[in-house]
């Protein structure tokens, strides 16, 4: 499947879903005007790719968000639940949740998101701030 690349905007994150490599990246801020319009197509593409994937594939998802609003949080949860489903189906899934080491909100979100994911290796990655 073709890589999805979206440049960051002032309110939406940079996206790179490289399906051939099995590497998914989200980076930046997320409070788009229309959350469904932004995340809907990404989730649809991800779901399709996952359902066609051979068993035992390696998937890595890097989430490097500095801020997201509550509507984006729901979209992120849906993305993680798709990965959890893939993990349960036998894929090898790693999620790297990057946060600035002094950002307790993003750290707590990482902890919240990881708690009910049992088939995904969820790494909380503190990055030293400037």
């Amino acid at each position: 499947m073709q890589t999805i690349t979206i440049a960051a905007s002032e309110r939406s994150p940079e996206v790179e879903f490289n399906f051939d490599e099995g590497v998914l990246k989200l980076k930046g801020e997320s409070y788009p005007e229309d959350v469904a319009a932004f995340y809907g197509p990404l989730l649809t593409a991800l779901d399709k790719w996952l359902s066609d994937l051979a068993e035992g594939a390696k998937i890595s998802c890097d989430i490097e968000l500095v801020y997201f609003n509550s509507s984006s949080a729901k979209a992120l949860m849906n993305l993680l639940l798709l990965l959890e489903k893939a993990g349960a189906a036998g894929q090898s899934v790693v999620v790297n949740w990057y946060f600035n080491s002094d950002d307790d909100t993003m750290q707590e979100f990482g902890e919240d998101f990881s708690e009910d994911l049992n088939h995904v290796q969820f790494n909380l990655c503190a990055v030293e701030g400037a």
């Binding site: 409070y31 509550s70 729901k74 949860m77 307790d104 909100t105 919240d112």
Partner: protein, 185 residues
């Protein structure tokens, strides 16, 4: 002598007395949310506000303004070559006793008031851990068609707030009330 300047200076002083550093009243759009939010972040950065505090104030600000955009009963819609939907409300950010606060106010229908009150009362009844657990529950829930995700926005506000959120309703006519929500950070 300027009556005009006097009138608006006294209006400005009322805002200052309430500790308000930033306010907006009128029709709000996503574009206004972005512009005001950006100015808010810049102002806080200039004052060397702790970055965690800035992030929390910004987060509460976004959720509050999006609540106006989605739920204000005072709205106009139309087509000016593109579809336009504007919601009316008030936004204020200020400082009181060393804490920041974000206030938002808008008109709601009486029929929506009780449901909103129930949601807010439920959130207010929870302690920190309870709020966190409720947030996680809502995160996994399919949004019910009517709420467009309202609850999670309110929970997010309560989570970022340093004190329990304050709110009030005042009936303004047979069908409507004025709703006001204040969160300290």
């Amino acid at each position: 002598m300027g009556m005009l300047a006097e009138e608006y200076l006294s209006f400005k002083k009322v805002l200052q007395q309430k500790g308000i550093i930033f306010s907006f009243s009128g029709y709000v759009s996503e574009g206004i949310l972005f512009a005001l939010g950006d100015a808010l972040k810049q102002k806080m950065a200039l004052e060397d506000t702790d970055t965690n505090t800035t992030r929390k104030v910004f987060s509460v600000f976004v959720e509050q303004v999006q609540n106006i955009i989605r739920y204000s009963a005072d709205r106009v819609t139309g087509d000016i070559g593109k579809p336009v939907e504007l919601s009316s409300g008030m936004i204020a950010v200020g400082q009181e006793n060393g804490k920041f606060f974000v206030i938002c106010a808008n008109v709601v229908k009486h029929t929506d008031m009780e449901r909103l009150r129930e949601r807010l009362e439920h959130i207010k009844s929870l302690d920190r851990e309870g709020i966190k657990a409720f947030y996680k529950e809502k995160l996994r829930e399919d949004p019910d068609a009517e709420s467009k995700g309202a609850s999670i926005g309110l929970i997010e506000i309560a989570r970022r707030a340093s004190d329990p959120i304050e709110y009030d309703f005042m009936s303004i006519d047979d069908g409507h009330a004025f709703f006001c929500l204040k969160a300290f950070i």
